[in-house]
Every structure is written in C-alpha cells, then in structure tokens.
C-alpha cells in the first residue's frame, strides 16, 4: 500500500466527507471549518493532484454555473481504491497508537 502524507490523508478524508460536492474550494472550506486553521489554495491543490495521480480520487468536470461566471469546475470523488486506502491507514495507525493510547492517555485520564 502506498503511504499517504498527513496532508493527503486530511484532504482525502475531506473528499470522502463531502461526497458529491468535493472540489477545491469546498475541500478548503471544510478543512478550515474542522481544523480552524487557514488553508491556502496551493496547500490543498497539490495533494488533490497527487491523490488523483495515485488514483485514490477521480475527477470529472462539473457543469458551468452562473455563480462562477460561467466557468466549469473540477469535481473530485473518492475511488474504491481510495476508500480501501483510508481503511487500511486507519487500521495501521490504530495498531501503532494502541499501546500509546492505553499507557499514556488512559493513564492521564484515570
């Protein structure tokens, strides 16, 4: 399985979350909302291209809307391969984090 960078992971999750409405700006908006940080366009755009190249997401061209001055937009959708990658990633990470969770975080809360 291919490794995902942290940022790619976040963007991929956002695309999954947004389902039918994932494009550059909505992803940015979503991530800004969730992380409460400013995300520049470039920092989203590049992972999107990478993910597309790794075939974790697919793109198609949306219909032009008046809102965007008649311009079309590039819409993204997560592929089964991408979904699979997310699942595997989560399992992997859980394994690594397991002991840490038990020993450090649980201890603290006790």
């Amino acid at each position: 399985m291919k490794m995902l960078s942290r940022r790619e992971e976040q963007v991929l999750l956002a695309v999954w979350e947004l389902a039918d409405d994932a494009y550059l700006l909505s992803v940015r908006e979503y991530l800004t909302k969730v992380t409460r940080k400013d995300w520049s366009v470039g920092i989203i755009h590049k992972p999107l291209l990478q993910l597309e190249k790794k075939r974790f997401i697919s793109s198609n061209v949306g219909s032009p809307t008046a809102k965007r001055g008649g311009r079309r937009k590039k819409m993204y959708r997560i592929t089964p391969r991408g979904l699979q990658a997310l699942k595997e990633l989560k399992t992997e990470q859980d394994k690594i984090w397991k002991n840490f969770l038990q020993k450090e975080i649980v201890k603290e809360t006790e």
């Binding site: 494009y23 550059l24 700006l25 366009v41 470039g42 008046a66 809102k67 965007r68 311009r71 937009k73």
Partner: protein, 898 residues
C-alpha cells in the same frame, strides 16, 4: 475639506455593513476578478485546469474583497496566478525539453541510419550556403566602398553631362576653375579638391630610377577630404608650393629606404626636380581611388597657367565637401548650368550643352563601374537560386523517402501526437540539417575566402566583413533554408493517416507532381547559368579575338615621354632596326587601347561653324600606319619627306568620312584647333588620306569619327611622341626584348626602360568579362553539382523502390539497356522541360547584358543546344550510373528483397 473626508468615511461605512450581512458573495455577481488572470493561466495550464482554478481564485477573491482592502485582494489574486503559472510553466518546459531531446535524437538516428542521403543533403545545403554567404560578402564589399572615410556622407564628386545634338556623354571630370568657383559662390560648398591624372613619369633619385605610376596633381585639401594620415611632413601645407610632392610609405621606401625623405628632391623626366614634403599612408584597398605620388596642383598651373581659367576643357576629377545638412538635390539643381554661364561665347553659341551633376562619394565606386548595380543584383539572384536548388534537394529527398518515415508518423499519432507537434518535429529536423550545414560552411568559408577574393579580384578579408552583417546573413539563411527545406516535408509527412499507414499500405509514390516541379526548376536554373556562362565566355573570346583594324600581335610598346628621349628618337629607331627580329618602329602620342586621346571639335570645309563634329584624335609619326599594319583606303599616309605633312596634314578614319558625308575626302579641308588644349581659332588642315577604322578605344565603346595628325616638334607634350612602338617578327620574343633593352640602355643610360606588349594590354582592358565569366563558371558548376547530388539521391531511391519490378522484368528477359532506359526516361523528360524553360529566360537576360556592348557575339542556337546537351549528359550520367547498378543486380537477390 471636512466635507470631503466625511463623505469618504460615509461611503466606506456604507460598504462595511454589507460585508457583514453576506457571508458568501452574491451568486449573481458578475466576474469581478481581472480577466487577465484566466488568460495567463490558459497559456500555461490545460483548459479545464485553468478554468476551474480561475473560478476558485475568483471566488476567494470576492470573499477577500469583502473582508479586506481591494489592494490586498488584488495582490493575493496576482500572487496565486503567478504561482500557478510558474508551476505550469516548469512542467511544460520539462516536457518540451524531453520532447525536443527526443526529436533531435530521432533526427540524428535517422541521419546516421541513412548516411548517403544525409551526406547528400548536408553537402548540398553546405555548398549552397557557402555560395550564398560568399556572394553576399562580395555584394556587401562592393557596395560599401569608401565608408572608412568619416566624412563620406558629405563628399560629392562632380560629374559632367556633355550633350551635342541628341547624344549625351557623361564623364567624371570637370574644368579646373569649377571647384574653386563653387566654393566661392555657394555657402553649402565648404571645400573642394581637384585631381589631375598624368602619365607614368620617370623618377630618378641618386642611383635609383623607376617609371612611376599612380602620379596625380592635386590640391592640399586632398588630405583632409580623404582622411589621409601623415607619417612625415605637415598636412596643412604639404602641397601648397609648386614642385612639391607627397609619397605613400611604400613608394618612399622604394626610393629612400627607411630614412625620412622630407626635403629630398626627385628628378622627374630628366627635366624638373620636385621636393618631397611628406610621406603618407596610402588609401585603404576598399577605396575607389588609389595613388602612389601626389604632386601639388600649383605645379600644374605653373606648367600651363591658362588651365586655371579655362572652362572648356574638363580634365580634372573634382570632389566637393558640402556642409552638414545641406540638401544635395537642391545644390545640384543650383549648379547644373554653372559651366554655361562661365563659358565663353564660342561654346554657348554652339549646339553643345554642359550640365553638372553630383555623385555621393559612397556611390562613386558603383557608379563608375559599368553595370555594377545590375551585376550585383544578378549575383544576389544567383545566390538565392543556388540556395533554392540546395533546399529543393532536401525537400525532394525527404518526401521521396517519406514512406520510410510513414510508420513512425503513424505510431506517433497513435500515441497521441498532434499534427502540430509532428510539423514541429519535421521542421526541427530540417533545422538540425541546416544548422549542421551552416556550421560546416562557416568553417569552410574561412578556408575558401582567400581563393574567392582571388576569383573576384578583390582584397576581401575576414576583418572587412562586419559582424552584425554576417550574423544577420547567417540567421537569415538558417531561417530561410530551415523553413523552405522543411516546410513541404513537414506538412506532407504529418498528414499521414495512422489507420492507413499502420496497416502497411504505405502510399509509395514514384511520380509526384510537386517533386517533378522541384527537379524541373533546379535544372532550369542550372541550364540557365550554363547558358549565361557560355555567352559571357563567347563574348570574352569574341572581344579577345576581334579584328581591331590593326595587327596587335608582336607589338612592343616602349614608354618614351621626355624631352631627352625624343631628341635621340631617330638614333634609337635606326639602332633598333638593326636588331634581328625587329621589323619597324614608330612614335606616337599614344597607342590604341590607351586613353590619352583627345576629343576635339572639327568643322569640315563648307560647314557652318556650329555644325562641328566631335572627333577623337591623337598624334603619330610617318611609320605609324606601316608598323601597326593599318590599311590606307584612300589617299596616302604621312611622309617624312613632305614638310607640310608635319604641320598642315590630317588623316581621317572611314567613320569620319561617312559621318561628314564625303565620297572622296582626300584634298578637302578640316578646320581643327591647332592643338587639343588651345582655345585659339581653328586652323585649316588638309585631308591627305583615309585609314581603315581601328579600335583605339576599348571594345566597350563604338568607333566614332577620328583623325590623326603628325607628331609635332614642339608645343604641349600631348601632341608629341610619348610611345615608341616596335613591330617584332621573331620566335624568340624575350631575347629580342632583351636586345631592345640593351640598345635603350646604351643610348639612354639614365632613363628607365619600361615596355609592354600591346596584346597583353588589350587583354587586360577586357579583363572584366574574363573575371565575370570565371565567377559565373564557378557558380554554374556548383549549381549543376548540387542539382546532380539531388538527382543522384532521387535516382537511387527510385531504383530501390522498383527493385522488384526490375527483378521481374529481368526474369522475363529484359535487357540491361531497357532497364536503364526505363529508369532514365522520367528524368530525361523532366530535364528537357527544364531546358525549354531555361532557354527563353536566359536568352532574354543575356541579350539585355549584351546590349551594353557595341560589338557583340551572335547568340546562336549552338549555345542553347550546347548548354542543354551538357545538362542532359551530366544528369544522365548521374541517373544512368544508379540505373545501371540497379539493372545489373541479380534478379534472385532483388526478388528476395524486403
């Protein structure tokens, strides 16, 4: 003030709340971001990428507009566009680099794979480019004479147009007082210089004696006008006083070695002594004028004081320097008639008119060469033609061999190559070939330039060529050849349909109209050049061999032009006649071919004094006609025994008798000036005979009415003996010349002996045609060679294409001959068409050229047929060799082929 601020604040406040009301921008808003953003993105990114990015940017931009100041939004927007564009650009550059690298690699692989074709292509292009560059260098050299002179733009040469009745003669010399008068009367004219040519002079300094050529009388302003640098002496006053002179460095070294000669004296012609007042650097070779010795004009005036005020004789080259910014055309208009106003009533009443015009110094060289500008244009055309022939080779070979590339094209298209990309690929390939040829030709030009300057008779060196010019020419050639040679293959090859090509159904054309047109034009140009070369050669030979009216062979001319020689001339003649091989000798003021004749006005008996005829004339002695073997048609020649022949007699040529209209001119009277320079009343002179027309001018000029008179015993040197001509009849020419020289040295121990053969002199006079012929021959050979290179490639290709057909034909009993015929037939047809095209064009061009000569060779059918035959034979040999090779191949091998 207050109000203004308040209003501004109010407006800002009015805007603010609205931004709070709307979290997201109004969907109905029109595009607010600068439109250039999207345009720029579209240059660097794919369409959809650019469009969606632009949409996104605009959205954020609008948000920013609401939150922050417009300037911030704009800055942000600009930055985004810049970043995206840079990213897109770097990707594009990377991939186009990959693509170009690949294309060049493919070009080189193809080149190496088909070595012979590549060699033909590059060699042809290289030859064409070399010719082209050399010709352009020559044209540049010829048209930039005298540019070294910083004042060249303001200097003009005076030119005379002399009109009698309807015929106008033009010459570059004017009367002596004209220059000073113009400078005095017209404020535009700042300075003048007069240059008077003179014959070769015998110079004696101590034990050194030379017959010095390149001697001129001139004003002191010469040095300033022509930017002359002094080595010794004072430029301001070197040529002020009479009997002073200035030498060039080389000339000074000849007489004085390395010492400073200022103050030394040199004896001229055994009579007068001149003081050296300066040594100067000679003019650059790239100048229309050259000299070895300059003597002061004051000396000339001392010789003949009348010259300073004489308006009727124009014998001096005169240059004027006009003020910066003066309008030369206006000035020319003002001075056109100036001579008429100063001339005495004699000429004014006559039918002759004199007009003065001016020629800019920068153009003087071209204007003084006959047809120079036309010739340069012709050379330019030849350069382009030869380059075209080379380009056509490239086009022909690459399209003919296109079948071999078809699969590559198909493959590329399947893999997504666009037609545009393929066109660029093939154009790029032609640029690779052109570039290689260009580099090769630049190297070769360094080697060939000296040989070329010898061929052209000019001192062209690498230094003389301006760098921007050569860069411009090279770039021009690269673009011209690259585009011309590459265009057709590029469009032709890129049009293949992959579905057709990859099925193996390659369109293999043997005949293509376009290719045929190219071959026809190549050989039409070649044949045309061959015809031109032949006509030029024939005209040259015609002029060399033309009957001049006298026998020019074995005539030795000795320069004998000073008083002490003249005194003992009879002794010398008597002594010479004793030498074995000397038939006779005679003295004259000039020999035919030289230009020391005069053109005087003669009024025939019974004519009105305004109906004069201008006649060439010079002076001869009583042995002249016999020695030169000139026939006397009517009357008799001059006789030693009859004293009146020496003063009152004249002989005219046939043309003169015809022009005057006298059936029997002997005994009639011509009224002639007593001597060529005199302004005195004409004196009656009796015609004692008519001699056959001779060409005393070069063959570039028609024979005009002329007369000869007996040399005088005194008076100006122009009408006295200056040449001693010896008729030899011997098989040992050099031995006889040595014997003549020995006799000369016995009689004149102090005089330099200088002699030449008249036939050599005539040959040199008509050297121009030889040179031109040589240049044309070289280029014609190259044109034919390049054309044949292409033909060789085409023939080889055709033979290869038809290998199977030939094999089958041979199996069925075809002979070698019939196979060769089969392969040659198409080419012969093309070349015949080319020949028929070349004939009328070259006939037209050459008859225009021949119109410059009064005596021309007839362009017979032989020339045209000969050129056609030559082209055909050369082309057939080329094709035939390939055809024979194909015909001889064993059918077993050729049927196994593929």
């Amino acid at each position: 003030m207050e109000k203004f601020f308040a209003k501004g604040n109010r407006e800002r406040n009015r805007m603010r709340p609205s931004s709070f009301q709307k979290i997201s921008p109004d969907p109905s808003d029109k595009k607010v971001s600068p439109a250039w953003g999207e345009k720029i993105l579209k240059w660097f990114l794919s369409d959809i990428e650019a469009e969606s990015l632009a949409g996104d940017f605009e959205f954020i931009y609008k948000e920013l507009l609401l939150k922050k100041k417009p300037i911030c939004a704009r800055l942000w927007f600009g930055l985004q566009i810049l970043k995206s564009a840079a990213a897109g650009l770097s990707v594009r550059v990377f991939w186009s680099y990959v693509m170009i690298k690949n294309n060049i690699k493919i070009a080189f692989r193809n080149m190496v794979k088909h070595k012979s074709y590549s060699l033909i292509n590059i060699l042809g292009l290289c030859l064409g480019i070399i010719c082209c560059i050399l010709i352009f260098i020559y044209i540049d050299y010829e048209s930039t004479y005298d540019r070294y002179n910083p004042q060249a733009g303001n200097i003009y040469r005076l030119f005379t147009h002399y009109t009698v009745k309807d015929s106008t003669q033009g010459f570059a010399s004017v009367a002596a007082p004209l220059g000073p008068t113009l400078v005095r009367d017209y404020p535009e004219a700042l300075d003048y210089v007069r240059i008077g040519a003179t014959v070769k002079r015998s110079f004696v300094y101590e034990d050194k004696k030379f017959l010095q050529d390149g001697v001129f009388y001139t004003d002191n302003s010469f040095f300033d006008m022509f930017d002359i640098r002094f080595v010794h002496g004072d430029p301001a006053s070197a040529l002020e006083a009479p009997y002073t002179m200035v030498l060039t460095e080389e000339t000074a070294r000849k007489y004085f070695g390395e010492k400073n000669p200022v103050g030394e004296t040199i004896i001229w012609d055994n009579s007068s002594s001149y003081t050296v007042t300066g040594v100067v650097q000679s003019l650059p070779a790239h100048s229309h004028f050259s000299f070895h010795v300059l003597a002061s004009f004051a000396t000339y005036i001392r010789y003949d004081p009348r010259i300073g005020n004489r308006w009727s004789i124009g014998a001096f080259l005169t240059y004027l320097r006009l003020a910066e910014g003066a309008d030369p055309q206006k000035f020319e208009g003002k001075i056109a008639g100036v001579v008429d106003t100063h001339l005495g009533p004699d000429l004014k009443n006559s039918s002759a008119a004199i007009q003065i015009s001016i020629q800019p110094l920068k153009k003087v060289y071209l204007l003084s060469q006959p047809n120079a500008i036309l010739m340069l244009r012709a050379f330019g055309a030849i350069a382009v033609f030869i380059l075209c022939i080379a380009c056509f080779n490239f086009m022909n070979l690459s399209t003919a061999r296109s079948a071999n590339r078809a699969r590559e094209v198909g493959m590329r298209k399947v893999l997504g190559a666009e037609r545009k990309g393929l066109i660029f690929q093939f154009l790029g390939e032609s640029f690779v070939y052109t570039g290689l040829a260009l580099v090769l030709s630049i190297l070769l030009i360094q080697i060939l330039l000296p040989a070329f300057s010898r061929l052209a008779g000019r001192e062209i060196t690498m230094d003389a060529i301006s760098l921007p010019l050569i860069g411009f020419i090279l770039l021009g050639i690269l673009v011209f050849v690259g585009l011309l040679a590459g265009s057709y293959p590029a469009f032709f090859l890129s049009a293949y349909k992959p579905s057709v090509v990859l099925r193996g159904n390659v369109f293999r054309s043997r005949k293509s109209l376009f290719r045929s047109i190219l071959v026809v034009s190549q050989f039409a140009i070649s044949t045309g050049l061959i015809i031109c070369t032949m006509v030029i050669f024939l005209q040259g030979r015609y002029m060399r061999n033309k009957d001049l009216g006298f026998n020019k062979n074995q005539l030795l001319v000795i320069v004998a032009q000073n008083e002490s020689i003249r005194k003992n001339l009879d002794v010398l003649k008597a002594e010479l006649s004793k030498i074995d091989g000397v038939v006779s000798s005679c003295g004259s003021s000039m020999v035919p071919g030289e230009t020391y004749f005069f053109n005087s006005e003669a009024v025939p008996e019974g004519f009105n004094s305004t109906e004069m005829i201008r006649m060439d004339n010079y002076y001869v002695d009583s042995d002249y006609l016999d020695t030169f073997e000139i026939d006397v048609i009517q009357g008799r020649g001059f006789s030693r025994e009859i004293p009146s022949h020496k003063t009152d007699a004249v002989m005219i040529n046939e043309t003169a008798a015809e022009t005057i209209g006298w059936e029997n001119p002997v005994g009639r009277v011509l009224y002639l000036p007593p001597d060529p320079f005199s302004q005195e009343e004409p004196v009656p002179q009796t015609i004692i005979g008519v001699y056959r027309d001779i060409h005393h001018r070069s063959l570039y000029a028609p024979i005009i009415p002329s007369f000869i008179r007996h040399v005088r015993a005194q008076g100006p040197i122009e009408n006295r003996v200056r040449r001693l001509t010896v008729r030899l009849d011997t098989s040992d020419l050099s031995g006889t010349v040595r014997a003549v020289e020995r006799k000369w040295n016995e009689i004149y121990p102090k005089q330099p002996f200088y002699s030449f053969f008249l036939d050599d002199y005539y040959a040199r006079l008509h050297m121009g045609e030889e040179k031109l012929g040589a240049i044309f021959r070289t280029f014609a050979v190259i044109a034919v060679f390049i054309g044949c290179l292409g033909l060789l490639g085409l023939a080889a290709y055709t033979a290869e294409q038809r290998t199977k057909e030939i094999g089958i034909r041979k199996v069925f009993g075809s002979t070698h001959g019939s196979v060769v015929f089969l392969l040659c037939r198409d080419f012969v047809r093309l070349i015949l068409i080319a020949v028929f095209l070349a004939w009328p064009v070259s006939w037209f061009a050459m008859s225009r050229w021949l119109r410059n000569f009064p005596y021309t060779v007839k362009m017979g059918f032989g020339v045209f047929a000969g050129a056609a035959l030559l082209t055909l034979v050369v082309a057939l040999t080329t094709v035939g060799m390939q055809a024979y090779k194909a015909a001889r191949s064993n059918p077993v091998d050729s049927l196994k082929y593929e």
